[in-house]
Symmetry: D3
Subunit: 233 residues, 6 copies
């Protein structure tokens, strides 16, 4: 049954581990984990070229109501990333330059919000990165409770306080805190494999050959035909 | 019943007043008015970092038909903003570099269109700002009448000729011409309040304290718990 | 009935002709052809200010499965543009920096994909242009056959191998290979007409007069009224 | 600027006039008025085969907050139709069987809501018709004021208290109260014209001939060709 | 380049063949052909429980303009199905009871339209089946030419005059006329296979065993674990 | 990190408890729990008037791939409800009459799927209820592993094996298995309160009075004005 909770002092992952994940980026980490944890593609950055990773502080808020974001700020520590989900779909502008100022003063790295943000000219100037579903100036009220640091579903993925969020131009992925170490190792291994392949591909070798696909394609029934013989000259 | 009208010489608001609103921007003006007038979040700028405000010249057009935009151009005066609504949803490219050239020669500041625009590389180079629902090269015909300077619903908001449009990266807000003076005052007051709060937030003070939220949160039933005691170590 | 084909050596249009079309851009080519061939407005560039044209190499892929892209790469020649359609709607990230590396080594100009791409920071740095329906890091498998260089419907338009794709910030248009020469001529003629009009519009002449619209508007029943007489002072 | 108003005793149109409009139905009334007033196609009935018309009582509500619906009920009179718009997009279930019970006890004919409703099994059993954007059980709060009987934009159309709403399986149309009498006359005339055409079409006569289209089609450039000569046998 | 054509006397498939396909239904025919030809899932029937198949007469129409539907009617023969595509996305009500009356008098079986229809209460009473993207009373004009019986892309699939359309509650599939005979055979074979499997499944046998999936699942790495051992009691 | 698991013998809730929840229905259970657990409004029933509740057996499947549904069937027991989520958004027809036959033979009550289903005419005749995001005949492959009875996010809500699903015409709600008993009690209490209110509302009493809203509305600033004095006669 619903209780409105602020969960204090959740476990956190070392920022050094977060930084390692940030070094690999969203696509590599997502792949290395086995293609899990990705927030849906409707969450887009308001800026370009920024890549961050940090511990999630989660907020669950009512539609059109940003009261709990103010509560969430207090639970943030340097390096954290604020993650906001709503109890029903909403594109209102929950977040603007004042909340960003507050978060920056706490050392928070960025915001992920399955709703709208505003003051985006200011946010870009301030260098505070945001990934959101919408940009909207629509104001919100402060009337209905939600919760902070409880598990939430944000853009289709469960996120818990202290899970690690990695975000860049490709979107946002959540790494469960118990998977962080293996994710770093798997990302490192994947990046090494990719670097080797990148070189070969750049040299003109084909993926068909590098990945040994020709035989399995043939076995699956792929036919090569010539345009002229298939469709006539 | 439908008449196809071109309403000439609608009332206009002084450009100085428009400029004052532009100085505050969409989010502040929308909030200061009491959270009204905002066009829906599907209307997005094709450029970044531009903020304008001016008197609306309204156009109501048929789907896939930009005839009335040419009629609308003649009704524009320096400083105006052309606002285009359609009689049914359409993403076609009603507007491109030629119409922009024409509007620029009249001193028009920009375009708001609940449909598509095209030639966006040219428009960005020319510095003519557009907020639209889509970017689409799809051509339009000139066959069906609409109206100019009648009240329209554009992206969910009623806009009348001579209402003031404010537009920036956060979207577009319509200020009713009779509310312009009070909106300026309210925006000025809001900005002052925000400046004071911004300083306190930047200094690390919490919104929870600045806005005196702690007591009302508690009264509403918010519970603070420790992670370890709630979920176990 | 379905066969999984790779059609080799389709006809191609001279790159010089493609370059001519690129010079005119999507909106002009689309208009000049009589407003056909435009892919739907949901296909957007991940970059800004790039304009290309080249022969299509088509790929039909299963949802969440990028196996056939690897097959498609081998069929590409310098100047080609890879065009990917899926057998059902999907926003997964079929394409990233490795496939881009491979395509660049073959001299391919860019990618059009009715699905998602990823590694967009890398793609932008590499200067490999992509037009896609989504940006998503979601990984794909290599398990189900599709086809290469068969006619596909991509974003609402039929595209055949060797049709010419023109893409820029306005979107993507497909020119049937048999229409290329007439499209170039028609584009040239249109551009000439537009240049003349652009000058007149810039000088303040109205489209109403340039296009002789006043009489037809009146005949259609357009009424000019004065605001004060229509709505009262 | 925003005030939260309940406007009492708005003008109303005679129910006999509403009934006349109901007799013609949404498509005919919309056409007869000159194709205006139609709410967008996202508003769908939860039942089938019901056609009503009555005076609008308008409600403007916050997202996820149905407080003002309770205020609106008191302003309803027998024959009225409750019309609910929200200040930002929301699909929550603002309305269920209890509010329907209350409205039925007041003699209200139905509900139009640009949001969600719930208890649809009950509503269908009770015979209380609803046109909504969504069906959703999501509960709403009672915390934020809105207004009653002020002009609202509902699903893209302005609706004022005392305008007439006509609703059936085709959707919902708003007839401005000052246009009711002419709309009835125009609908009657249109229906008569259509009845005559329906007979001729049923007898096999073609619209091409009834509407004299052949000449204008030819003048516009329509070409008739034979399949065999155009595409070969 | 665009010409506005009415192609007369396209090839047609025997109605007996169409009827055979109708007997199998959309899902079976689509599967039997190898999972091709399906129009997108946004095209939905306005009625329930109807299944038809017939030769396509294709119409390409401008947005908000149903002129060409009247032209298309004349090209229809008994048993045909009218298939309407638009040159850009549009949900307007192109089709209502008058056009249905006209088509019924010609013996046409139904309508597929990638746009809106209206008068749905009448259409259901008349028993004229329609599959459409929207239901909307929004009226259309008769001002812009399109074509009849040229190949169109309708809801993501190419449809040519004389291809066979099969439609039921699952949606709409297009069978190329050259594939009709093999599609009937493949559908018959599939239905026989399915009947045998249906009996076994109804008797409690598992698909895992009927389709021999267990070994391939294991080889692919599927692990069976017990809840208690995986998550603790 | 990803493992592909089939979790056997998850905990289950007594069917008697499920039946109790079914008796209250989705809206009441959702409200009684404090407005949590509701799947998003895009999940709609293919039938009308059916209400079920049972233990969830969860399936996580790849896009366009229904292999794991066959695996899931084996884990079902009488009274269960199959809940299918996908690893990325997909509307393909994962489920048709054969799988329904198999589930019915196991005594499964219904299917919840965040994707498409097909054979809906058959499913309705068989009386097997389905709640899905789409109806689509699009066939799926059997090539990629997923998991069964692991926690999934389905339509925005986390669902674990043995959580209770309640589904009716209002949508689908998930009750965590540890909340079932309190949810039944809270639902019973809510229903009692609603029955009392329903009687008073039916008798003409206003919600404004029953819920004592007048004072709080006034305190919040709601103004009552007369139309004539506000807008003039």
């Amino acid at each position: 049954m619903t209780r409105n909770l602020v969960v204090q002092n959740p476990p956190r992952v070392d920022q050094a581990h977060c930084d390692a994940l940030a070094g690999y980026g969203v696509a590599t980490v997502h792949e290395a984990m086995g293609r899990i944890g990705l927030l849906d593609a409707g969450i887009r950055p308001i800026q370009s070229g920024t890549r961050i990773a940090g511990n999630a502080v989660t907020v669950l808020a009512a539609p059109g109501d940003n009261w709990m974001l103010h509560v969430g700020v207090e639970q943030c520590r340097p390096g954290d990333i604020l993650v906001v989900a709503t109890t029903s779909p909403c594109t209102d502008g929950y977040f603007g330059d004042l909340l960003a100022t507050s978060l920056m003063s706490k050392g928070v790295q960025g915001l992920i919000i399955d709703a709208g943000c505003r003051d985006v000219m200011d946010l870009r100037e301030m260098g505070f990165p945001v990934w959101s579903r919408a940009i909207s100036a629509q104001g919100t009220v402060k009337a209905t409770l939600g919760s902070v640091n409880v598990p939430v579903v944000c853009a289709g993925q469960q996120v818990r306080a202290g899970d690690v969020i990695v975000a860049d131009d490709d979107g946002v992925v959540c790494v469960r805190r118990e998977d962080v170490v293996t994710s770093i190792e798997a990302s490192k291994a994947r990046e090494a494999r990719e670097a080797e392949k990148r070189g070969r591909l750049a040299a003109g070798e084909l993926g068909l050959d590098i990945y040994n696909m020709r035989e399995s394609l043939e076995r699956a029934g792929l036919e090569y035909v010539d345009y002229a013989s298939e469709y006539g000259a």
